[in-house]
């Protein structure tokens, strides 16, 4: 059974700091998705990673995929309050989501 693990589950950051969220999965997959969810809202697609070594960046967020290690990372650079949300990774096989990382950016 495919398992998707995210860590940390909760992250409190100061504005301006950098941090990385990790997503590990248990079976091979050639694509991985990152989503953002604001409280009470639906999921917003952030990144689609389609191959080993894929790296995508949008603003202060950068996602990468290592299919050999079965690991994806979401790196946050110089965090700002607007990035406060829950971030989910999802692995295409079975479309399994991780439990999410609840990010809070404090001034």
């Amino acid at each position: 059974e495919l398992k998707v693990e995210q860590n940390p589950l909760f992250l409190s950051m100061q504005e301006g700091k950098n941090y990385t969220i990790y997503c590990n999965y248990s079976t091979t997959s050639d694509r991985l998705y990152w989503y953002r969810q604001d409280p009470g809202k639906s999921l917003e697609s952030l990144f689609v990673l389609l191959s080993n070594g894929a790296v995508k960046q949008e603003g202060r967020l950068m996602a990468s995929l290592d299919t050999k290690a079965r690991l994806s990372t979401l790196h946050i650079t110089a965090a700002v309050h607007d990035l406060s949300a829950t971030y989910f990774c999802a692995v295409d096989y079975d479309m399994r989501f991780g439990a999410g990382t609840r990010l809070t950016v404090k001034p």
Partner: protein, 115 residues
Amino acid sequence: EAGVAQSPRYKIIEKRQSVAFWCNPISGHATLYWYQQILGQGPKLLIQFQNNGVVDDSQLPKDRFSAERLKGVDSTLKIQPAKLEDSAVYLCASSSSKGGRIGYTFGSGTRLTVV
């Protein structure tokens, strides 16, 4: 383009009652998914359709949940009878293909409360 439409937005029912949710995917999207998201957890896939055929319903509690996608467009998800543990947000998502290169588009969801 219009997004994924879901209705109702909220529903409160008593346990053992029945409830149905409706989803209209993005026009032309062949793949449609229903997810259950319990508060504080990640979405859990319930069922996946490709056009009007079921691709994966392995996680659908078939004793009480059913879903259909007539004519390969709109879809309904039904719970009968509901249990307290069914309280969750039910999300519908669509994609132009399985594992779309631009990801999946989610609707706003239906928040179900079973009392």
